[in-house]
């Protein structure tokens, strides 16, 4: 049994970790911290866990030694406490943004603050298992990608490997996203009468996840993010004008994705000729760790449209973290992550 604790357990990422780990056969949950709910039952905040977990939130001070620490704090918090965390656990998986970027300049540009633990950055592996699964055993600290970045990177990685695109390619990722991505703290922008039924482009340019894509894939992707009426889910529509000299056909694209992802347990290539769900659709992924990827090519205009869908709280956050843990501890990769998804929903 792996003894894990969760720092920041009252947020949505933390709650999702708890949901997954509660049913994980090789995990023993030790402590769950929260700043605002110390002493409250976990199920007071995460009512889906009623009868499933009988614990209360504790303070950071009450954390004990454990095998693995999941950090699910708001961005720019974990770098404040990282020394303490490393003294408590051998392994750390950070779901937040603090240790994603190696380049401090890029970090400061996108996060508008100095990094508080620059020395530790290189100890972290920025991890998407489908891409750098082999590196995991070499590290003890892991930084999980942002949810939008996860969906975009998985969509683009095979094209980079096959040299269809590179740093000069103009790439636009038009991301549609649900309200849970904004976190568990109420504000006017998430007040139901204001947030309901929106199609609200809240990040037309300069999205932070551009930085991690730049570092990880050396691509210049411009992200435009639009909030839509859904709680969970991301659909990234990535538009690429590929080089005029390339003569790509739809079947070439098929083969490329097949080559890289055919054995991946959490990636499905979706490209049906008919039916309602011809292309990736986030709603059938709620609660699952899948990333569904589809595409269409306009051969005439040399435009490629890649669609990638995930549940932002699972493959985009907590599920990916558990996937990393499974690999790290030699557990079958799908353990705890086998929820099939609902239809209809």
């Amino acid at each position: 049994m792996i003894k894990v604790s969760i720092v920041g357990g009252s947020g949505y990422g933390g709650g999702e970790l708890l949901r997954i780990l509660t049913n994980h056969p090789y995990v023993e949950i030790n402590k769950i911290t929260s700043k605002n709910y110390i002493g409250k039952q976990i199920s007071f905040i995460h009512p889906n866990l009623r009868n499933k977990i009988n614990k209360v939130f504790c303070s950071l001070e009450e954390l004990e030694k454990c095998d693995l620490l999941f950090i699910a704090l708001p961005n720019l918090e974990s770098m404040k406490y990282i020394e303490k965390f490393s003294s408590l656990a051998n392994y750390i998986i950070d779901l937040g943004a603090d240790f994603r970027l190696k380049n401090l300049e890029l970090f400061e540009k996108y996060y508008q603050t100095k990094h508080l633990s620059p020395d530790l950055i290189n100890k972290f592996l920025y991890t998407i298992p489908e891409i750098n699964r082999q590196e995991i055993k070499k590290y003890k600290y892991f930084s999980c990608p942002g949810c939008e970045a996860t969906s975009i990177i998985l969509a683009l990685y095979p094209l980079v490997q096959e040299k269809i695109i590179n740093e000069k390619t103009k790439i636009i990722a038009d991301v549609k996203i649900g309200s849970s991505a904004a976190g568990s703290k109420p504000s006017l922008s998430t007040h139901h009468p204001e947030r309901n039924s929106v199609i609200r482009t809240y990040h037309p340019i300069n999205h932070r996840h551009e930085a991690e894509i730049k570092e990880f894939l050396n691509l210049n992707v411009e992200i435009t993010a639009t909030a839509v009426e859904i709680v969970r889910g991301i659909l990234s529509t990535t538009h690429i004008f590929f080089d005029g000299n390339q003569n790509l056909k739809e079947k070439d694209i098929w083969q490329i994705y097949f080559k890289y992802y055919q054995n991946e347990p959490f990636i499905r290539i979706i490209n049906q000729k008919e039916g309602l769900y011809r292309l990736p659709e986030p709603k059938i992924l709620w609660g699952t760790n899948y990333c569904d990827i589809g595409f269409k090519i306009n051969e005439e205009t040399k435009r490629l449209v890649i669609l990638s869908a995930i549940d932002n709280l699972v493959k985009g956050t907590a599920g990916q973290a558990v996937q990393i843990m499974n690999i790290l501890f030699n557990i079958e990769e799908k353990t705890g992550l086998d929820f099939i998804g609902l239809h209809p929903v």
Copy 2:
């Protein structure tokens, strides 16, 4: 031209007043107060009013003399300032709860506080024009009913008049309601990921509007209120077991509603045999001042189900207030209130 000011113009009731009054041919809007947005453009908070109203919110202190003051403050606020308000305007229409109840004991039971201006209560007319239109000219101060109460009172009034029901009748009003009824202030209960897709019975018993129905119609209605996934709208399903000696048929009910409401501009009796919209449906009333009323009778079990639908912000709040103003100032009752409603929506 009637010179009006609005106290509490940044809330949803205030915003709806502004939407209606901006296009009202006989109204000149003077001041619009707000506690939190002094100096901000009205359209900053109510973006639908862009290019329509070029004013900023002001403080209570900046209010000037005017003909009519609309008060759209949170409950239990207007009784604090009512002296000041009466010094500023001849006429007052209060959209809040402060002056609805004559009975102080009932007020204290349901609002859990002492009334701060008990002497003024009797100067206010609790007004539903369809019921006491004739009284309006005798008063200068008006208290608008709560939104749930409006829908229930309009559904029950003809049955009281015809002695189908009385204070001994057991009546349950199962109210379904949208999120705008909770006001414009964010909280965890209105945080989109928590509020979305709910069917949440937040008031199973002891709803405050029971008190005003008791006072106005002398009925003992038990309200159970359930929040559903919608921003605007109320459907009140009122269940009545009528006296076993009565031998009511559906056509009798028809005749009763027809008798009281046939000439009412804002009440429609809806009881189709076929079609999708056989009975009242709140969504086609968004933005309108209608109260649609329908019914079904189970002759065998002597049960009557009355359905009444309104837009809580219009007939339930701001629209009813403007309707009262129109009557008070001898303006055609529908003026400013002629929006037809949208379909589909």
Copy 3:
């Protein structure tokens, strides 16, 4: 391994059976029939099952001998083929309405048709495991209750046992329900622009499930059903005026539910003093087999409000069917039904 086939696998009940059974460790899925999609991949209709089940729909004629037949046909279909079905399998679990009622007169009144296999009715056990689990081993054929009926019966059963209510008690069940309950066949009433955002009371009186509640609990419950904006989920708000001589307090109600349900794996009693999820809420039950039950009592007026929430496709249909199968075959009751539910969603 239990060899099961599913008749009517392209509907929503059938799809939900497939989702649950695909991950069930003791079940081998044999045939899956569909009238309209013969030869099509299962995942063409149920896209959540991609990579999980690699089979095509077949015709009724292609059914083979198996241990257990799940019938998920539209109402009034299974009675046409029941002879054939019984020749194929030892055990039958029918999710539809055909064999729920023993009383033919009641059947004809509510379903407006003659029964085609009246001789077989008594071979079926109308089954809610929490109530008649002990009977299951005595039968081979099982009829699953309707989804609204399930939620109402589970809410009322302890009160019947304790003689709080009986056939003379006036009981109103005001049911709020999602769109999946209307089935998988498109119509104008489920056309998105018409169905979206509704609060539509489509069954004010004479709901069919009144009949099975009458038969099973000998109660006269009047159901009013209202469609709301959700795909999955039912909240039944059951209003009871109990006898004036009873002097019930909230803690008495607590004890009654606790007595009957404390050891039930799929029933949770929800009655928090504070927090958002104080009472049952269907959305956190999507995909789960839970029935959450809560209540409030107005001691003054002798009114009791019972709230019961389920996922109509799981505890209301397919999940309950699998629960019956588990009991029948001596499998741990929760097998295949351990999904925790999502939050937020």
Copy 4:
């Protein structure tokens, strides 16, 4: 009074025309045709029109002479009857696609059929009043642009005029759209349980409206259309990489839009620094004839993002048609189109 008839009055475009024209002071509605609802009350299909219009649908044969015929048929229907229609009315405004394209080759490529009345095409003016208002008086027949095209053309026109973009510019319009755009006929793709909560890219490439943009503005815009959870509304996010030699700043873009649209009654330029509604948002436009336009520029990467929002049934269909009628008949352009929009909603 202008005597108008509506062909195809039971669809959503026809219903919206009826809503607008019913309150129009200079219009007398004569006949309203429908293929499927002959003899039915208008309000049977459009329940918002109860008490507002007391007419029944008639057949095409029952049409009479009138001043103006609005044609709101499904695409590829009006070209079948256009001879008949021109014999009945002096003026025709066609809301469908049949007469939008002058280039028959383009028509055949995108609509996959031969045109049945090619001779009449040039009699039609493809009309967006903000762009070719001056031409209206020279024509008798008018073809209204598609809803997506309207939003994109209004976003791009000033940039074409100012030579920021031209036929060589790579332009991607990522369109998010509500369910009413798919029309009033039920299908599996609009079945509520399947359509609810979607982020479904149903047209990744080769959208038909590319053709009319090409003809009208001589631009090569690639449209990707994604259905989202909303009934009404379009947000078009148009991504442009402008020429590296241009040195555009945000204020330049402001000035360009201001130059072309400052006096337009139905266009608002939205670009706030703060607040929730900083950029165009379709939901506050429901029922209105506005097109709200906003933008952001990434000066570093020479990318421009233009956002344009409309109600697809109003400015995208029926509202624009009435706007054309008003200009044609010398009526104040905003007549009948002054609904302000709702907030919150």
